[in-house]
Amino acid sequence: MSYEYLNARLRHLKARLLKPEQFAQLLGLSDLEEFIAALAETDYAPEIERSSVEFSGYALVEDALTRHTQRVFRHLADMAVGEADTLIRILLERFEVFNLKTILRGFHAGVDPEETARNLFPTILYPTAFYQELLKREGIPAVVDYLLAVGNRFYKPLTEALPDYEATRRLARLEGALDAFYFESAQKTLREMRSESAEIVRKMLGVEVDVLNLVYALRVVEAGVEAEEKFRYILPGGERIQEPLMRELLASLDKAAFLRKLQETPYARALGEFDETITAGELQERLEAWLYNQNCRIDPGRFFDIQPVAAYIWRVNVEVTNLRVIASGLWRGASRQAVEDQLIWVPGVMPERERVVAGAS
């Protein structure tokens, strides 16, 4: 596989991503119509034009963002052949898993399907109609039945975890089963590929596994769960924290002990300074911010492997998520502070937060 060909083409796609100064401008807008007009001046123009025929207001933005993301991801997938194609599919499948988890969460919490649909990330591996059908189901068992009926491979882990969920009503059982299935199958495929690029993707996924495991571990320790069962839900395939160390973290007697052990892991630097008041939510926020920062900026100087593609996929994720947050904030009339708190601040992709805040005040 020639990554030179793929990465040369990718440069053109990257050049069309929104610049930090464009985000700063969008953040300064006070009206959704202004936002739509500003977006129509960017690479989103064809989608804004097309969506405006059918929709208006926030629905227009939603539709345009979905169409745009699908266009760029399809373009990316069409450029790749062989090994790169497989790697791109593995990277994009993360979003399908994210969507399935969002739908399960929506049914679990009894959220309006329309609201759930607004939280789905645009994808290309499964068609939009597939998710629309899933959202029409009456509950989680019906979702699993539908996955089985259409032959979707994620029916398997969900079928296995469903009785457990029905007995405990704990959504983490289903979410954990989906994550474990995705990461295990992806890492198995990547190991078999035996190439430098496959190894890069495998390590990226391994770091994500570490982050998920750490957040899970702190939640368990915070809740004071003592049952042996807690060890069952450690995701396999961590990159920097192997299972014995993760078990040790999970076995911590209290939060203070957990945080002391955490200081000795490779993630202590990523977390920055923290004390015993840190919550699982804050830990998750910090680790995710670090993960976005790492993965969006792994490509400088790389031309002969998959890293530029992986970074591009992460940047599109950040761009679309942030555009949604800004548009949704304008639509709902949320405060500027609330919008800023929800944005993903990746240097180089977004403007510096301090400058944006200073400019607003």
Binding site: S2, E4, Y5, A8, R9, H12
Partner: protein
């Protein structure tokens, strides 16, 4: 940071082609040098070694060109696929490594 260098299929094909070409070239040069020296009555061994040196100089240049072009070529193809305006600059970029072969030729004639 580690740098792993792997030859792709195209680079391997170029490499094999160049090795065959060079073997023929070196063989031919040695034979012609021997004939020339025999005619002049000079040491044929010295002339033969000189010819091998000339062949090696060409080998280095040709290998470098093959490897560089095998990587620049696909990159240029990708850039042209996105924007045909890149064709001109792409052609120049593909041609630049040819200078390495020219250096090899120059050395042959110098020897």
């Amino acid at each position: 940071m580690t740098f792993k260098f792997k030859l792709n299929k195209l680079a391997k094909a170029v490499l094999i082609f160049n090795v065959i070409l060079l073997s023929l070239l070196i063989g031919g040069l040695v034979v012609s040098a021997q004939e020339e020296e025999e005619a002049k009555g000079a040491d044929p061994l010295a002339q033969g070694i000189r010819a091998v040196g000339a062949g090696l100089a060409f080998l280095g240049g040709a290998l470098g060109t093959g490897i560089a072009q095998s990587r620049i070529g696909p990159a240029v193809m990708g850039a042209v696929a996105e924007d045909r305006a890149n064709f001109g600059i792409g052609l120049i970029l593909i041609a630049i490594p040819e200078t390495l072969v020219i250096f090899g030729f120059v050395v042959i004639f110098l020897l």
